[in-house]
Amino acid sequence: MTTQAAISGHEVEHSGPNYIAVFIYLSVLTAIELGVYAMGLPQVAKVGLLIALAWAKAVLVAMYFMHLAMEKRALAVIAIIPVILVTFLCFMLLPDLTTRMWTKFDHPRPVTNPAEMGANPVAPPPMQTP
């Protein structure tokens, strides 16, 4: 498929992606996700596979529907910055997570029906110091 785009007054010719093929890939990956979800794999394998599949789909959308594969590198740099920053953010959360994972007190789900809630339904359980 060949498309012509008028960019900054210059006629630029480039070959566009096959959107139907991308659509089929996305649909197949979604079906695989549902299969992984239903297969009853161990939690670690299930989470790893699902995250990998989600990223594969996200990259397909960004590269082909959002045309990053055909754009100048400056736009790809803008696109990758939030990914890097959020990755750092996840690492910054690790100290808090590891601390909280030491405290194994119960967090019972108080009530599922809001009509039954009392004056302070979300009062936290007493804290225990590790």
Binding site: F23, A54, M66, L75
Partner: protein
């Protein structure tokens, strides 16, 4: 100065500008602006999803999403958004090649896809708030669910309005092949909404 010399000088000046900022001159400033906005928006969603993960990992008694959230409805919602992304790129391809009737049809389908998604989300929320007894005030599981999916739903609503404006402008003749770039910029936003839903579907519903 003769006309030919003026054109040559102009082209020379443009070439110099290109040489000054070879990698910082994308084809469209609209695209650059939209990508900058989307980078900020991605940080917001990224921070919200990271916070969700931190809250969930830190709580050993986090409820299983499967006990509350239906996968069938959301799988269909995911499929609807993917389809609407395809109709969006077809609408863009149509207006770039001057096929305005085809553009209007595909843009109308894109708007319809967004409306179907919002309708299904409203149906899902109604079910969860009513039969399942979920509420943003109950606990963090419920709060994070409603905040993340609600924030994304607001984006879908914004996209439907955005695309509807472009559809109406196409129907009234105000949007022509020469302004196809406006559709490409709107498409970036719409595909981003699709991309974020792909991640929310995985992190909130499937894991």
């Amino acid at each position: 100065m003769s006309e030919a010399a003026a054109v040559e000088t102009h082209e020379h000046g443009a070439m110099q500008a290109d040489q000054l900022e070879p990698s910082l001159t994308p084809g469209s400033l609209g695209k650059l602006g939209m990508w900058s906005f989307l980078a900020g928006d991605a940080m917001t969603f990224g921070a919200a999803i990271a916070a969700y993960g931190a809250l969930r990992i830190g709580n050993p008694n986090w409820p299983s999403p499967a006990a509350f959230l239906g996968i069938t409805t959301t799988a269909i919602m995911t499929f609807v958004l993917i389809c609407s992304s395809v109709t969006m790129v077809e609408a863009l391809g149509s207006i770039q090649t001057g096929r305005m009737a085809r553009y209007r049809n595909f843009m109308a389908l894109t708007v319809l896809g967004g409306l179907v998604f919002l309708g299904m989300q409203a149906f899902e929320w109604h079910h969860l708030l009513g039969e399942k007894g979920m509420s943003i005030k109950v606990d963090l599981f419920d709060a994070t669910f409603f905040i993340l999916t609600g924030f994304h739903g607001c984006h879908v609503f914004g996209g439907v309005v955005y695309n509807s404006v472009l559809l109406i402008r196409g129907m009234t003749g105000k949007l022509t092949q020469a302004k196809a770039n406006l559709v490409e910029v709107a498409g970036l936003y719409w595909h981003f909404v699709d991309l974020v839903w792909i991640l929310i579907f995985t992190f909130i519903y499937l894991i």
